[in-house]
Amino acid sequence: MAAVAFPNFKPSKRSYKAGSYPQRQFKALNGATTTLRYGNRRTESTLALGFENLRDAQIAQILEHYEAVAVSGDWVKFGTGNGLAGAGVELHPFLNETTSGLRWRYADAPSVESIAPGISSVNVNFVGNLDAGGSSDGNTSERPDEGFYFA
């Protein structure tokens, strides 16, 4: 498995949620709360990209990318030519999850809306998760790839 670059189309809208730390909260009868944190790395970040009024040939490239990544178990990386377009460099490590060790995968299938002959809009949603077997120090290069299994 490897990182696969997203097709080079710049989104017209983008929404990012940083994800949360795995934890559980217990509340006592008197209302006092105790929080148990199970990990020191956030997970389940989300990234939603919207592409308005692309040519259908471009939409097809995104769908083909979805099929390729979903079947192989690869994950998705972004650059300034696509998902990171227009974002300041300070945001790049978050939007690409390079320091967190999270890996972007499609959260669901892309949804395509036909607008006019040959023109469509598409929304794609990604979820960033830690693959199982990852090291706890956040060094992604030491992480084996056994986190994605085929039935």
């Binding site: 710049k10 017209s12 009024n53 300034t80 006019a116």
Partner: protein
């Protein structure tokens, strides 16, 4: 001497018949601009979408004699009616401003407004929506 068009040369042909006593007609056409602005752009960008056209006309409610048909009756009856509309209610229309200059298209009459006031001849104002592409454009 220059050539120009005025109301005198205007003609409205509806369903193959020239409508008498037309006081005005107007036609507007547009092309949708679909926004393609991406996050790194600093100015909005667009791509052309689908076309549309619509128009309006006004016709005097006038007839040459008691036996003659009312001018514009054919148009009015498409909206002021007691029967239901059907797919057959798409009609050919030509708006000409010179003998060989004008626009031809198919349309649906969408609005009709009758008005009558003291000291004026009764008039009907109609709106129409062009359906599909324009058939012929001679400008």
């Amino acid at each position: 001497m220059g050539i120009y068009s005025s109301g005198q040369s205007g003609v409205l042909v509806f369903d193959g018949k020239t409508i008498a006593k037309v006081s005005s007609w107007a036609l507007q056409a547009s092309v949708a601009a679909l926004e393609t602005t991406s996050l790194s752009d600093t100015a909005k960008t667009y791509t052309p979408g689908i076309k549309a056209a619509s128009g309006s006309c006004s016709v005097w409610m006038y007839r040459e004699s008691a036996q003659a048909p009312v001018a514009g009756e054919a148009l009015i009856s498409k909206v002021f009616r007691t029967s239901a509309t059907s797919e057959k209610d798409i009609y050919g229309m030509s708006l000409m401003y010179q003998t060989d200059k004008g626009v031809k298209f198919n349309c649906i009459i969408t609005d009709a407004a009758l008005s009558l006031s003291v000291g004026e001849i009764m008039q009907v104002s109609l709106s129409f929506q062009v359906t599909s592409d324009l058939i012929e454009v001679l400008l």
